[in-house]
């Protein structure tokens, strides 16, 4: 009988670059490169998927892939220090080895997004897979597949916004409309001030031939959804990414089950229509 592939066995990567994303230093972006070229070729992913990263000896955690498959030769992960494993990763230095398993999950619905106007609503450090989606859409070989791109991205304060260099670049482009907002006014901030649902209502995105992608903390999602519904986005044109407790990433350990589905396997991306059919266990 053929040898069964072992999906629990990580491939090894090296840390090539570490970028601190916020002033309190608990959000860092890690640029990882596969030790083995073969592994790099085999890691084929789409925006919205996640990987299971290992600090060997400490543990493993699921994390959205922040890089786009159009960025060759490396993977980006933005990791928040929340516990012992992520804390241990935060103390790692250049050249240290990180394990990776994946890519897992279903990713953003690229087929449903083709030829549509795209509205992205992102909050806080949930923006990671949205960075992947935006890079993917803006890549020259892909841009023509999508129509107007509107991105609303907000955080508690200016310092908490991720990918500040990318945001600067996107603001300069005319093929993407980027709207940034922070919760409270602060010196030096000349852009919008207000919670995301309020700013979303102000923007009132056009739902004609459009798909909405929402990714952020539960409270942001809870108050943004009615705004999108008011703007006449149908439930099957609004997509969210769930963040249940995941462990194995492959639908076997049981932790991420929501009703009869597994977030790691059938998700993490679900349409609002699909979510309404699932029990509220997320």
């Amino acid at each position: 009988m053929a040898v069964l592939e072992n999906v629990y066995f990580p491939k090894l990567m090296k840390i090539e670059e570490i970028t601190t994303e916020n002033p309190v230093n608990d959000l860092k972006t890690f640029k990882l490169v596969f030790k083995n070229q073969e592994d790099s070729k085999n890691f084929i992913y789409i925006p919205g998927q996640f990987a299971e990263l290992s600090q060997i000896g400490m543990g493993e955690f699921p994390i959205g892939i922040a890089s786009s498959p159009t960025e060759k030769g490396y993977l980006l992960f933005t990791i928040k220090k929340v516990g012992s494993v992520t804390g241990s990763v935060h103390y790692s230095t250049l050249g240290d080895v990180i394990g990776v398993r994946g890519p897992f999950g279903n990713g953003w619905p690229l087929e449903k997004m083709k030829g549509k106007n795209i509205v992205i609503v992102g909050g806080g450090f949930a923006f990671t897979t949205l960075r992947s989606m935006i890079y993917y859409m803006l890549a020259p070989e892909n841009r023509a597949n999508f129509k107007k791109i509107t991105v609303l991205y907000g955080a508690r304060s200016a310092g908490e916004l991720l990918y500040k260099k990318d945001l600067e670049n996107w603001e300069k482009r005319n093929d993407i409309n980027l709207i940034l907002t922070i919760d409270k006014a602060e010196p030096g901030w000349t852009k919008k001030v207000g919670y995301i649902p309020a700013v979303l209502k102000e923007i009132s995105p056009n739902s004609d031939n459009a798909v909405a992608i929402v990714c952020g903390p539960p409270v942001m999602i809870k108050f943004s959804m009615p705004v999108l519904t008011e703007c006449k986005f149908p439930d099957d044109a609004i997509f969210l990414s769930l963040e249940n407790r995941m462990k194995c990433g492959i639908g076997k350990c049981g932790h991420c089950s929501v009703g009869r589905m597994y977030v790691c396997l059938d998700g993490p991306v679900f349409s609002q229509a699909e979510l309404k059919k699932l029990p509220k266990e997320y």
Partner: protein, 349 residues
């Protein structure tokens, strides 16, 4: 091949013959507890028990603690050693499991190989195993296999079956793997017709001895309309959250994965049994817990086995072994719960 019959005192010799080609795992008594272990001395084998063993044999193929891989940390480098492909020297014969337990191994296999990703650890072991069930001449008051599609002489996932005829055993095969094993026992006579007729009779008597008759019908459809029913609060009121029901359930398969350090530089990534009945099972990194309420966990147990399994895989996720009934310190009885579920009037009833 025809079934073989032999005097009971020949059992050790039969096992000795099998041991030439196979490793034998079978039931032994350790103090008061029946356990399944690799047998070196066949006189230790203990087959005089009624109903399923308290501890299910699932740990033979799905250990409570299993090493996934070992690792060494050297300066800035890491070495990993994959343990999923370890092939044992001999195929193992898992001997003397109840038909409900034999069926449970098949249910675990169904789950672990379902969909895009396969669990190499369970499947490698399963594919290297031969299952010999011990038919149930008698049943316990907590047995309800016949209510969930099973039988005291059930054949599902039994390569062979041993039937106790009082003074003799009959060993019959149901699969090609079983045939291969029987062919090594040529020195024993074919079972005469009277023995085979006696099997039928004992089977019927065993079926009649089961006092539980649940008409589950389309229970998964029934449950689909009962998510917010008051019944879950009632069922969970007495629950302590000890997890015994799922740890000792032969079809439960949830697990946690942790890195277990031997010293600063060596260790292993292991998986250990886990249970949805523990409050922190679904607790997220943010602190939010979607199944914070006990009723949600009680509901999850019933839904998983009697709604999600049929919906996702077309089969029930319970073999009716009754261990959860025997072991619950609060005397929760899944049969009562299922009967009460059936009584509830919903949109489909």
């Amino acid at each position: 091949m025809n079934p073989k019959s032999f005097e009971k005192r020949e059992l050790q010799n039969v096992l000795q013959i099998l041991a030439e080609n196979y490793d034998i795992v079978g039931p032994v008594k350790e103090g008061n507890v029946l356990k399944y272990k690799k047998l070196d001395k066949f006189e230790d084998i203990y087959l005089d028990f009624v109903g399923p063993s308290a501890i299910p044999p699932k740990s033979i193929l799905f250990p409570q603690r299993e090493v996934l891989f070992t690792y060494e940390l050297e300066n800035k480098d890491v070495k990993l050693h994959d343990l999923s492909q370890q092939k044992p020297a001999k195929i193992q014969v898992i001997f003397g499991i109840r038909p409900c337990d034999a069926k449970s191994f098949a249910l675990l296999k169904l789950f672990f190989e379902w969909g895009k990703y396969k669990d190499a650890y369970y499947l490698e072991k399963f594919n290297n195993s031969i299952f010999v069930s011990l038919a149930c001449n008698n049943t316990k008051s907590t047995c309800f296999c016949t209510s969930v599609g099973g039988d005291p002489f059930g054949k599902e996932n039994s390569d062979l079956q041993l039937v106790d005829l009082g003074k003799k055993y009959v060993l019959r095969s149901f699969t090609q793997k079983g045939e291969a094993v029987l062919s090594t026992l040529k020195k024993y006579a074919d079972a005469p017709k009277e023995d085979l007729q006696k099997i039928e009779q004992i089977n019927n008597d065993a079926r009649k001895s089961i006092k539980t008759h649940l008409e589950l019908g389309k229970i998964h459809e029934q449950l689909a309309n009962m998510w917010d029913d008051k019944i879950w609060a009632k069922f969970s009121a007495a629950c302590l959250g000890c997890g015994s029901c799922s740890f000792l359930c032969p079809t439960c398969h949830c697990f946690d994965v942790i890195d277990d350090r031997t010293d600063e530089r060596h260790g292993a990534r292991i998986r250990v049994w886990d249970t949805c009945q523990f409050p922190i099972f679904t607790k997220q990194g943010s602190g939010f817990n979607p199944r914070d309420a006990k009723l949600a966990r009680a509901r999850q147990r019933i839904f998983h086995k009697f709604n999600y399994y049929p919906t996702n895989y077309g089969v029930l996720g319970c073999v009716g072994c009754g261990r959860c009934i025997c072991l619950c310190p609060m005397n929760s009885d899944i049969r009562d719960e299922l009967a009460k579920v059936k009584e509830v009037k919903t949109a489909t009833t």
